[in-house]
């Protein structure tokens, strides 16, 4: 499998964060829209087989990667200077690091806070058609995420050729991304064709580039990471069914670090049985790269 880097251009605010499992879900919907039930059925059966053809990372400001979750260290030295304290505080706030430090083929970047999102609450209302006034209970607030930089990278580990990966990414974003896409949010363009990048060849410490679950039968040890709760919402023509939510799952987030003696390209798996409809599944795998 080849690890590709694809740059996306954000042309509007987002209502849904650019996490790997959601991006993968949009790719699956793109296949369903363009290739119908047969195409998506074939794609999903391959992804569930344990030999997936497409594993997608979360998005990072172009040229950057998420910060690895550091190993907890006991503070042995007492009486740190003000500069040393300031450095510890600064390091804790870092969200991204230069991708060139971990994968080759990416131009070196600087600026650790580049591209952070600014959350802005925006009021919306529903108008009573008869009176032209705001409908009773029709005023509501939506949180929008405005990106500080327009270009964001995703990493795709795939056995498909670059042309197919690009096609899938374009299908994923053609109808907008995430919530409120039909009212202007999540306008994303695929800026370039997939560029192969190479992770370092050696190392037993790995970093995850997106959300994942730890499988019980893998040889992952010493896993450190942030976790989050995912209550996925169904899209497309499933969005209007009685229960449009998937069962809640707990995922490790991008930046999780673990060790493995076996060479790995990705971790995690597709989670089945997350909804009463057996066709619906949850992406819980992500590309990983060795970092030490």
């Amino acid at each position: 499998m080849t690890l590709y880097r694809i740059t996306l251009r954000l042309c509007s605010p987002l209502a849904t964060p650019l996490k790997g499992d959601t991006i993968w879900g949009h790719i699956a919907w793109g296949i369903a829209n363009h290739e119908g039930d047969e195409g998506i059925g074939e794609f999903l059966s391959r992804e569930k087989s344990g030999d997936p053809s497409l594993v997608v990372s979360s998005a990072f400001p172009t040229g950057m990667l998420c910060r690895p979750i550091p190993e907890p260290q006991e503070r042995t030295k007492s009486g740190l200077s003000a500069e040393e304290y300031a450095k510890i505080k600064l390091n804790k706030k870092l969200k991204y690091l230069a991708a060139a430090d971990y994968v080759s083929g990416v131009a070196e970047m600087s600026g650790d806070e580049a591209g952070s999102f600014k959350a802005v609450p925006v009021l919306h209302n529903t108008i009573d058609r008869s009176s032209n006034a705001v409908l009773e209970g029709g005023l509501y607030m939506v949180q929008e995420e405005w990106a500080g930089t327009a270009d964001w990278d995703i990493y795709v580990l795939s056995s498909d050729p670059a042309e197919r990966v690009q096609e899938l990414c374009e299908w994923a974003f053609e109808n907008g991304y995430g919530a409120d896409a039909s009212t202007g949010k999540g306008k994303i363009l695929v800026k370039n064709s997939p560029e192969p990048v190479e992770a370092r060849k050696t190392g037993s410490v790995y970093m995850a580039l997106g959300p994942f679950v730890k499988e019980s039968n893998t040889i992952i040890t010493d896993l450190r990471g942030d976790i989050f709760i995912r209550s996925g919402r169904l899209g497309g023509d499933f969005a209007s069914i009685v229960v449009p939510y998937k069962k809640t799952v707990l995922l490790y987030d991008a930046g999780a670090v673990f060790t493995s003696e076996k060479r790995l390209g990705y971790v995690g798996k597709i989670l089945p049985n997350v909804h009463m409809d057996p066709r619906i599944c949850q992406s819980a795998f992500t590309p990983v790269i060795p970092i030490a």
């Binding site: 363009h34 058609r129 405005w146 039909s182 009212t183 202007g184 023509d237």
Partner: protein
């Protein structure tokens, strides 16, 4: 269900009379504007949210298709597969609509946020005033006591880039119904919007807009 086509309309929205798409005031600032317009929080440029355009089109079309009285002023969300409004604009997930949701499919119309055109964005960066502070006033009919209030508006002449996508889905009819609804609903919605107003204060002169240089995905001119 399969997506068999994507109709894309691009063009320019020209502000004909002062445009006020309100931002809401969730905090009070000393010396701040009471009725501000919505702006990009990063560069302070005004923009028109896709939700304002889509919501207004939907509202005007519900009047045209005689759905207002039937729904007692509420948004039509019958969810019927052939409902022109629910099929094009989408319907909420109520138990009533869930059965027909799969026959109907997802919203066909995607309306993007309209940002300033490149030229007007450059002028804004160079310091040109694109926004005015208009004072409005209501008078006590007996004492003539004034109750003034300022309102922020985008000045006439300013242009925004406009884009909408209309999906054509094959729900068993080869996309025939969606194809028909493009003219019947989407283009009609744009015509109605041009003849009505956008944003607040439309009955007293605000919010008249025009569409300019509308083109489809094959660069062919669209006439409203």
């Amino acid at each position: 269900m399969k997506q068999i086509g994507n109709k894309k309309i691009t063009g320019t929205i020209v502000v004909k009379t002062g445009l006020h798409v309100g931002a809401g005031t969730d905090k009070v600032e000393i010396g701040g504007m009471d009725n501000p317009i919505i702006r990009n929080p990063l560069n302070r440029e005004p923009y028109i949210p896709g939700s304002s355009l889509k919501g207004k089109m939907r509202s005007l079309l519900e009047w045209k298709f005689d759905l207002v009285e039937k729904n007692a002023g509420r948004v039509c969300s019958c969810g019927e597969p052939d409902c022109k409004i629910c099929r094009v604009f989408g319907a909420g997930n109520t138990a009533k609509t869930s059965e027909s949701a799969k026959k109907r499919g997802p919203s066909r119309l995607i309306v993007r946020d309209a940002a300033l055109t490149e030229d007007w964005s450059r002028q804004f960066k160079e310091g040109k005033t694109l926004v005015e502070e208009k004072s409005e006033n209501s008078l006590n009919r007996i004492t003539a006591e004034a109750n003034p209030r300022p309102i922020e508006r985008v000045v006439p002449g300013v242009e925004f880039s406009f884009e909408m996508i209309y999906r054509i889905l094959d729900t068993g009819d080869g996309g025939k119904t969606d194809g028909e609804y493009f003219d019947l609903v989407v283009l009609e919605g744009l015509r109605l919007l041009q003849n009505d107003y956008l944003g607040g204060g439309g009955t007293r002169g605000n919010g008249r807009i025009g569409f300019k240089d509308l083109k489809d995905e094959s660069n062919k001119e669209i006439k409203l």
